[in-house]
């Protein structure tokens, strides 16, 4: 293969989800004001309380300033030209897969997410969100037998209003931050999951987010509630077409774990990251937070962040119940001109609460990768424990890695440990593996996988292989 061809093949491989789907969209005005917020609510046929929730959020949002404290620079989104709601034209909400627009079905097939239940990974239920609306949720009946509710948030507003009303905004309040407020005003869809008392969810739940429309933002809202003695594992995956313009993705995820409940939330984020010069790519500004409300509850966040032009994301746990456990396992990979400022917050309120943070940042190209984490032990949190480990790996000479840990302890019995390392993938390391027969790309992939092992093993089995591959593809050709 000639050098140019090899190069082209590599670039082609780099982001294989960059295609767009040609579907007809419903008309919707651009920009945002109270009428737009009302219109979204109306489109979704929402009850009055939901409309009020949105309006309250909108009014809070217009008073708020866009934050700029993070270690990233970018052009601010133009909120007045953004389209806040984008739904494919035909078909109202569907119960049968036959009703899904074939083009959209094809999109998911291309992404490797077949919507036919028999073709799916066994034991994984999928909710597919295309731009602003949920397209299809699989295995609904099987889950219903176990008493688990898994549906789009729009359906939940219609069918389980009491649950939504009680919990939405309880973990991430409307005014929490600029983007959470915006999301609360204009969120379009997302997933809802409710696991009743004494129930172990019989399968992995998964939502697959796809931004297709060029001018639309995606504002999804996810709410997961695990009642006493229940367990659930949930995974989200994200891709988007390649456009020259930046697209905004501002999600809110709320998790509620009651007594003895356990929620495991995993993310494989592979939004389009922009080109070599930082043109295009997704702004990934999301607020994710869980509360361990009941005693002995546990929330784990595992994330593999490989995409997006700019990522600002801090999945957090409020450890309210005594003996509750919070975990954060993260791999953030940045290449080219990507910027990631990501980490977690562990807020210890209950006694004997325990948190673990394992963060692996990998930077290549001209990218910038920051870990930002807060560990807070409140006065009443007797015997709280935290262990944090933040490792950074640099590939090449033109990237940056940063660590910003914030530690606050108001209780003398608290124990906080923090370890941090920085290493560089050296020429010598690559040469060693090449001498053992591996290609340069395989060598880097192996080194990186080794570096991330502790985190990758936390991903659900079904996705671990995919994650390994993704890391390899992401860093292909990143060394001279």
């Amino acid at each position: 293969m000639s050098e140019t061809k090899a190069l082209e093949a590599m670039i082609g491989e780099e982001y294989k989800y960059g295609f767009s789907t040609d579907v007809e969209y419903e008309d919707f005005p651009k920009g945002i004001n109270e009428d737009v917020v009302r219109l979204i609510s109306q489109k979704k046929n929402e009850p009055e309380w939901m409309t009020e929730f949105r309006l309250k959020a909108y009014r809070a949002w217009i008073e708020m300033e866009e934050p700029s404290w993070f270690n990233a620079t970018y052009q601010k989104p133009k909120f007045d030209t953004l389209q806040y709601y984008s739904a494919p034209k035909n078909k109202p909400k569907l119960d049968s897969l036959d009703d899904v627009d074939p083009k959209i079905r094809e999109t998911y097939e291309k992404l490797g997410i077949p919507l036919e239940e028999q073709k799916m990974l066994s034991g994984v239920a999928v909710d597919a969100v295309f731009d602003s609306v949920s397209i299809f949720t699989s295995f609904k009946e099987k889950l219903a037998e176990a008493g688990v509710i898994f549906c789009s948030i729009s359906e939940a507003v219609q069918n389980y209003p009491e649950l939504v009303k009680k919990h939405m905004g309880s973990v991430v309040p409307i005014r929490d931050n600029f983007y959470a407020a915006l999301n609360s005003a204009v969120f379009s869809d997302g997933s809802f999951c409710y696991v009743p008392k004494d129930t172990i969810c019989p399968m992995e739940l998964s939502t697959y987010f796809r931004i297709n429309n060029m001018n639309s933002g995606q504002f999804e809202r996810t709410l997961i509630i695990a009642e006493d003695n229940s367990q659930v594992s949930y995974l989200e995956g994200c891709t988007a077409p390649m456009y020259d313009e930046h697209q905004l993705h501002a999600a809110v995820v709320e998790l509620v774990a009651m007594e003895n409940a356990e929620i495991k939330y995993s993310t494989i984020q592979n939004w389009y990251s922009g080109d070599e010069d930082g043109k295009g790519g997704i702004y990934n500004f999301v607020t994710k937070r869980g509360i361990c409300k009941g005693d002995n509850s546990k929330i784990s966040w595992t994330q593999l962040e490989t995409g997006s032009a700019v990522t600002l994301k801090y999945p957090s746990v409020i450890l309210k119940g005594d003996n509750s456990v919070g975990e954060f396992f993260s791999v953030a990979v940045t290449n080219k001109m990507q910027q990631a400022d990501t980490g977690t917050k562990m807020i210890h309120l209950g006694k004997n609460t325990k948190s673990t943070i394992i963060s692996k940042g990998i930077s290549a190209g001209r990218s910038n990768n920051s870990y930002r984490g807060q560990v807070k032990i409140s006065k009443k949190a007797e015997n709280a424990r935290n262990y944090s480990q933040c490792d950074s790996m640099l590939i090449g000479q033109t990237c940056g890695a940063h660590t910003f840990p914030y530690i606050e302890s108001a209780n003398p019995t608290g124990k906080i440990e923090h370890e941090a390392t920085t290493s560089r993938v050296g020429e010598e390391q690559i040469f060693y593996l090449q001498q053992r027969g591996l290609s340069e790309d395989d060598a880097i992939s192996l080194i990186v996988n080794g570096f991330c092992k502790e985190v990758l093993k936390e991903l659900p089995m079904e996705f671990a292989v995919e994650a390994n591959k993704l890391l390899g593809i992401k860093l292909e050709g990143s060394v001279g």
Binding site: L433, Q434, G437, L446, N449, G450
Partner: protein, 257 residues
């Protein structure tokens, strides 16, 4: 098998010339020892033969089985059967020895049109090799060279050689840092692996390794050149007299040392 012709090599970064016209011919079935004082260019010779990116060939050629390998990437040279046992084996945290070795073995097997081995077959295959260097099976599940003692790292190199079965093994100071027991184990391993179809080049400071591995030829390298070649008796002479007499000899020949 290996033919090095008037090889001149510089450090790519600053252009310092390290090898100043090396000639060496290694045939199948032979063991060669290259000796010489620190900084004479012995390790560079091994590294450049394996394709280390830090160095650049400015003149001369390296032929392997009659063909120039200068344009080949390090992995292609490995596929062709060239193996370098590193003087300072590199750590790869989080990657187990088994993972690396299986990937190496299968990549090389694949390039030579041989069957790849699945994890179970591979386990069987490497068990014997482990005994060769007397290493505990636990060792397979440890991260490559991470936290290994100096001796363990060197033994690991020979273990890798045993698994990958190269045609040409370049062993760069595999003996340094080994205690006498480990030295015997390593030497015994190399002897057992060596046969009529492969060649071994030992790079060493000390004659003591040659007590256990008998070389067919001994070369002395000084100032980036091979200044003297002979049989194993040359090694004894070096042990007794050091390199001074040869350095003087090199100067007489008009080379700055």
């Amino acid at each position: 098998m290996l033919e090095i012709k008037d090889l001149h090599v510089v450090v790519e970064e600053d252009g310092t010339e390290i090898l100043k016209g090396v000639n060496l011919k290694v045939n199948k079935g032979e063991i060669h020892a290259i000796m010489g004082p620190n900084g004479s260019g012995k390790s560079t010779l091994a590294k450049i033969a394996a394709g280390h990116p830090e160095y650049e060939v400015t003149k001369g050629d390296i032929l392997y089985n009659g063909e120039s390998i200068l344009e080949m990437d390090p992995d292609e040279r490995a596929h062709a059967g060239i193996f370098l046992a590193f003087q300072y084996p590199v750590e790869v945290p989080g990657v187990t020895n088994t993972t690396l070795l299986r990937e190496s073995y299968n990549t090389i097997a694949n390039s030579r049109g041989r069957e790849e081995l699945d994890p179970l077959e591979f386990d069987d295959y490497i068990k014997d090799k482990l005994e060769l260097v007397q290493m505990n099976p636990d060792f397979l599940e440890r991260s490559v060279n991470a936290g290994f003692s100096g001796g363990e790292k060197k033994r690991n190199e020979i273990f890798q050689m045993a698994v990958l079965q190269p045609k040409l093994s370049l062993l760069d100071e595999t003996d340094s840092g080994l205690d006498i027991d480990a030295l015997k184990i390593v030497a015994n391993g190399i002897n057992q692996l060596h046969g009529e179809d492969d060649a071994v080049v030992l790079i060493t400071h000390y004659q003591r390794l040659l007590n256990y591995i008998e070389p067919d030829f001994v070369h002395v390298m000084i100032g980036g050149k091979i200044v003297k070649s002979g049989d194993k008796t040359l090694a004894y002479k070096l042990e007794e007299q050091g390199y001074d007499w040869l350095e003087a000899h090199a100067k007489v020949n008009g080379e700055a040392v």
